[in-house]
């Protein structure tokens, strides 16, 4: 059950909403974790939304592997996404929330249920199948979302600041979890974060977004040297 990884490419993508405009031309390496950083409002989430299919570019193409998915609906893309919030349906229990990753009609065969249970065990929520989201902590809810990612088993994983609201220790645990899931499945991960440590710990690559465009891209390690892009140094300087 290993998903084959694929590169994600935004080919001269132009997108506008109201009076803001973004232009992306960037490729994310297959099977690797890339951190996406940048100031608030720079277009990080928009970038993920374009990959996920929540936004349709005005110009350019979105490619996953060799397939042009520019206008494919979100559910038909080989992509899973975890949001900062609202990853779960409040009225459905944990098992159903995860099970939706397998069948949008929630028709789960015995094997599916077993997979759901396995995924829950894998993210440390064994036995919590019947809990409702409101009975879970913030960290546990995000684990449920990750369990659904496992059940869906798509080659691309988009993380839109999923751990931003968690405490440092919890966040640490979650990063470890993502790292180990990645080690197992080898999916291509795009990880939007505000925390330089997250990027350092998890991501091999780094893309720096500023003012609606990719200002710099490269190895994460290089970004944190004195030779790193100036805009980036300026950004994390401001953050520190």
């Amino acid at each position: 059950m290993t998903s084959t990884s694929a590169a994600v490419r935004l080919d001269h993508v132009v997108f506008s909403y109201s009076d803001t405009m973004v232009r992306f031309d960037v490729t994310f390496a297959p099977g690797e974790i890339t951190a996406i950083m940048g100031p608030s409002g720079a277009g990080k989430s928009t970038l993920l939304n374009l990959v996920a299919g929540f936004e349709i570019p005005r110009e350019g193409r979105v490619l996953i592997g060799d397939v042009d998915v520019t206008i494919a609906p979100p559910s038909e893309r080989p992509v899973s996404m975890v949001f900062q919030e609202n990853n779960l349906f409040a009225h459905l229990d944990v098992e159903k929330n995860v099970g939706l990753g397998r069948s949008p009609a929630l028709r789960l065969a015995t094997a599916d249920r077993r997979d759901v249970a396995t995924a829950l065990t894998r993210v440390g929520l064994a036995g919590m199948e019947k809990r409702l989201p409101r009975e879970l902590s913030g960290g546990e809810r995000q684990r449920v979302a990750l369990a659904r990612v496992l059940v869906r088993d798509r080659p691309i994983l988009l993380l839109d600041e999923p751990f931003a609201s968690l405490g440092p220790a919890l966040r640490e645990d979650m990063l470890d979890l993502v790292a180990s899931l990645h080690a197992e499945r080898g999916m291509t991960v795009l990880f939007v974060t505000h925390q330089p440590e997250d990027a350092r710990k998890l991501a091999k690559n780094m893309v720096f977004v500023e003012a609606g465009t990719v200002a710099a891209a490269g190895k994460t390690a290089d970004f944190f040297t004195n030779a790193g892009p100036e805009a980036f140094r300026h950004y994390i300087g401001g953050e520190r």
Binding site: S16, Y17, F54, E85, N86, P104, P133
Partner: protein, 538 residues
Amino acid sequence: MSVSRTDPRIAAGIIALAAIGILIGGAFAGLGIEAARNPQGAADAFDSYLFRIARFTLWQALLSTLLSVVPAIFVARALARHPAFPGRALILRLFAVPLALPAIVAALGILSLYGRAGYFAEPLAALTGGTWPGIYGLSGILVAHVFFNLPLATRLILEALQTVPADQWRLASQLGMGARSSFRMIDWPAIRAALPGIAGLVFMLCITSFTIVLTLGGGPAATTLEVAIYQALRFDFDPARAVALTLLQIALTAVVVLALMRLGANTTGDANLPVAQRNYIKAKTGEKALNTAIIVVALVFVGGPMLATIVSGLEANLGRLAGEAAVQRATLTSIVLATLSATLATMLALSLVMARRALAGSRTGGEKTLLERFTDTGAGFVLVVPPIVIGAGWFVLVRQSVEVFSLAPFMVVTVNAVMAMPFAVRAVRPAYDAASERHERLCAQLGISGWNRLRLIDWPVLKRPLATAFSFAMALSLGDLGVIALFGSDAVQTLPYLLLARMGSYRTDDAAGLALMLGLLCLALTMLADRLGRETTK
């Protein structure tokens, strides 16, 4: 956020719009054919008298709207701040009853209190000196309209308030916000988003008011356009004039409603996961007292005429009435027709609400499309097309090809459903939009759409507002007379129809008893709808 154009929700909305369009368009086509034979009436309609009644129509409707909606904000908020207020659930259910009462029953109930021979006549006479002249004239019209619309607006505003996420309330209580600042920061944004729609709805109801305006207005100086349309079709049988007046009525309403829209911001707050009870609100004693006073005053105002209706209803020989075959038949017919209409109305409303949301989501900034506007406010304008116009139009259209009487139940159900649809929209939309805000991307991502989405995601969240919508629609259909009277066939006799028939043959006691039974029926059905809506999915 972009959503594919093939979203089944948009298709549902288009089907709903098409159904409404066919109903209205067919009526206009029918009357248009007749009007073409003698188009002169359309031009003759526009004289100085018409100008006067148009002015009066707008004036009374604006005042009625203001007096209904502004107090409703405070009543709704008071109810929202006190989820454990004694009898709260019952009050809310009672608030659905006025809609089910035929106008004349409500008018008589109101007059039992404020009329020349009403309970308050003596104290009022002592207060004003001389004899109490009653409330005939503008004041009577306003009292009656507020009686009908204050409860309606209260429930709809409450529905909007209940979409405020619990987090915001926690935040407010944590920040120690008082009643006033929490109103400004939390309640008002939610109310403001819903208010133009609610005010527009009330306005349209008052624009088309007929029996209330004539009976309590004191004379033909108090006449609405609706009366003129009725007169044009009924006494003069001048379809050209009726069509011209209807179009004028729609145009005037459109101007006012669009102006209302501009006042309101169309913002949906970003809602978070739990939408829960507000148990953590700790209202201060002063606020508690004030809110209690507000609720009690509203209850007395709305409950008073209802109580008077009950009192006179009890004087009737209820046992005999309930035993009559005609009454039993009419009750059953009423229940069946109202249930069908309410089901259809709720489905139409849900389709429109879903389509509007999907269209708003697929729009990347910029202007709303015509389709979105129609799913938004546009469809609401059906309210100002008089039922007599729809009825007569269809009658003309189909008389050659169809047995008209067999059409009666069908017409009653569809016309009532379409007329109740705008109410249902107002009840459902805030909750749907808030839920969609949370679920939209997740559903798109997981490929949950169409029937699956309705069943698994939307239905559980929307059950309560759908129940509200359903009970409103049912109350409205229960009380309807317009369509029934026009298509009146002996096969479709409803309770209000029977009530008027008894009144028309001197049997006022019977009529009072039937009014009581109608009110109780409405209350019972509302409670049933509420109960169905509250059941949890487990």
